[in-house]
């Protein structure tokens, strides 16, 4: 059993748990949740300085999921890490739930920042990283934005800010899944070569396969070793990855599905999970 297999197993566990969350509802932000699963596995599978028993630990690393609609994937990750019981995952979006569509720091144990109105997480992550630097506690802030989200001007305000204030404890990911709500990013409002854009703004930039959790993990280690400014890891991903009824569809941002479609998706993802489990045990 090695780290590569462990991270892959954790990623597939997150994917299946996320699909099960949606299953009870019949609809949800499936596409953008599926594309960040491997990144969440790398973060919560070892990269982040956290203690699920002390979710309010002042010196913990923080995660801001600025594409807040990926909340369900984050909730699955947090439940698997023991922040709250896995059974709670089935309450997603139900009346009175602690698990709303978009991340909410006041409702969900382990969620570090409220997000949902796109672009804002870039700035709150900058503020968190700056606060950690003022405290000198060595903590880091991780940030996940989307390539469609890069339409928002606030992303670029923060992109200027973080290098200026030398926030080398800020490690960001851009989930470049190529799709946004109204279709392909290149057709709606092309955000172009995001790695080149962030590099031009002064970020230390890497590009990796966002569906290879070990590659993401390695990129995090490289970013963590970089000093003097923030890091951007561009993740080449597929919106809806690993969910048979969502992957490859143009309009999979928020999607409704039949019971049969979800059953087929769970069988497929379940088979991949079993293989990952076997590989991790070997």
């Amino acid at each position: 059993m090695g780290k590569v297999e462990d991270l892959r197993l954790f990623a597939e566990e997150i994917r299946v748990a996320t699909l099960k969350e949606f299953a009870a509802l019949g609809f949800g932000h499936v596409g953008g949740a599926m594309s960040v699963v491997e990144t969440l596995a790398a973060l919560y599978g070892g990269a982040m300085r956290i203690d699920p028993k002390k979710p309010d630990w002042a010196e913990r690393d923080r995660l801001v999921v600025s594409k807040g609609h990926a909340g369900p994937a984050v909730y699955a990750t947090l439940a698997l890490k023991g922040y709250f019981p896995e059974a709670e995952l089935f309450t997603l979006n139900k009346p009175g739930t602690n698990l709303p569509s978009h991340c909410d720091r006041t409702k969900t144990v382990g969620i570090d920042m409220t997000t949902g109105s796109l672009g804002q997480g870039m700035s709150t992550a900058c503020g968190l990283a700056l606060g950690q630097k003022l405290d000198g506690n060595g903590a880091r802030t991780y940030l996940i934005i989307g390539d469609g989200e890069c339409d928002e001007g606030q992303i670029w305000e923060g992109a200027l800010f973080a290098p200026h204030y030398k926030l080398d404890n800020l490690i960001a990911f851009c989930d470049k899944n190529g799709q946004q709500l109204d279709g392909y990013v290149k057709n709606v409002l092309d955000t172009g070569d995001l790695a080149a854009k962030f590099a031009a703004f002064g970020w230390f930039t890497q590009t990796v396969d966002g569906h290879d959790p070990s590659a993401v993990d390695a990129a995090i280690q490289t970013a963590a070793a970089h000093t003097g400014g923030p890091s951007m890891i561009v993740l080449n991903t597929v919106k809806g990855h690993g969910c048979t009824f969502a992957e490859g569809k143009e309009f999979n941002h928020h999607i409704a599905f039949t019971k049969e479609e979800m059953t087929a998706a769970l069988i497929s993802a379940g088979a991949i999970l079993s293989a990952a489990r076997a590989a991790a045990k070997a």
Binding site: D112, T114, A125, Q154, E157, F161
Partner: protein, 322 residues
């Protein structure tokens, strides 16, 4: 809470922004949680001394107000108490969604300071004249909206702005205020101050119109009309009890604000009066029109914000009593 009101209302010898910056620096001396942010306006907001004294705790965000509010929210999530400064126009309408989600909805501990309220924006003109800032932000649940009147009041409430928790908007006149309070006055955010007792009508004012309301009460006294004057410097949460009592005891109300009468102090007071003890209300403020450029005195006259206008409105309100 006890206030001592001056006899006359002379312009203070120093700008209100100096009182503000000095007060914040004094508190920052012993409280390392206090940090200040600006959006390329520190020469206007008067925060340069803070920047010089605490360079590591002053963050100039450049001309990027939305990012500044988000950075402030993030800082507060690490236990800091951020004060973010810009003109009231940008501190409200430009960053409404950031104040809503990153600060208030996220229940973070953020202070937004919007300077140059209403006609005090004078020569910056209509584009820069916040006549809607309080209305824009008043619809955000749990936000606290305050408009300090003079140096004595500002200095007295600053420690409360540190010790209390929540998302605050502080509407701050930056130039020389008319002195209303004598030293030794004490205040409580969320409670209005009765500055003058009276039984015929109540003048409920805020900001630069507090001294005008007091002058109007004097004019009314000359006409035999006994006017009560209240400084409602906290617009939200609003002092419902004080307003209801004023409505019951005086039977007519005039609201006085350096702001659009739509959505502002007049609206807020009318909501309470309508729900508790309905009486005639007249509203002094800009009548749902855009601001314009010019000297402050010209604009006060242009928008009927002077003592004579308030006195005339009071006469009208009294005449409407049933």
């Amino acid at each position: 809470m006890s206030v001592i009101v001056r006899e006359t209302f002379e312009k203070e010898p120093h700008m209100l922004r100096e009182t503000y910056c000095n007060g914040l620096m004094a508190l920052a001396e012993t409280d390392p949680r206090i940090v200040a942010l600006d959006a390329d306006l520190m020469s206007s907001s008067g925060m340069k001394p803070f920047w010089k004294k605490y360079p590591d705790r002053f963050i100039n965000c450049g001309i990027a107000e939305a990012n500044m509010v988000g950075v402030a929210a993030g800082l507060s999530a690490t236990g800091k108490i951020p004060f973010a400064h810009t003109f009231g126009t940008f501190a409200s309408r430009r960053v409404c969604d950031q104040v809503f989600m990153s600060a208030a909805y996220a229940k973070l501990n953020v202070r937004i300071v919007g300077t140059d309220p209403g006609v005090t924006a004078a020569f910056n003109g209509g584009t820069h004249m916040p006549l809607e800032d309080m209305a824009v932000l008043r619809a955000i649940p749990e936000i606290i909206l305050v408009e300090p009147t003079d140096s004595v009041q500002l200095e007295a409430i600053l420690p409360q702005l540190i010790s209390d928790y929540g998302t605050y908007y502080i509407r701050l006149q930056r130039k020389n205020a008319a002195a209303v309070y004598a030293p030794g006055s004490t205040f409580e955010i969320g409670r209005g101050d009765v500055l003058r007792s009276g039984k015929a009508v109540t003048l409920i004012a805020s900001g630069i119109l507090v001294s005008e309301a007091l002058k109007a009460a004097e004019l009314l006294a000359g006409q035999g009309v006994d006017a009560r004057v209240i400084n409602l410097f906290t617009w939200k949460p609003i002092d419902r009890k004080l307003i209801e009592v004023a409505a019951r005891e005086t039977g007519a109300i005039v609201t006085c604000e350096n702001h659009n009468i739509v959505g502002g102090l007049g609206s807020a007071v009318a909501e309470v009066v309508g729900e508790t003890w309905p009486v005639p209300i007249e509203r002094i403020g800009t009548p749902d029109v855009f601001g314009e450029v010019g000297p402050e005195d010209y604009l006060r006259t242009r928008f009927h914000l002077n003592a004579v206008d308030i006195a005339a409105a009071a006469t009208k309100a009294v005449a409407r009593k049933r």
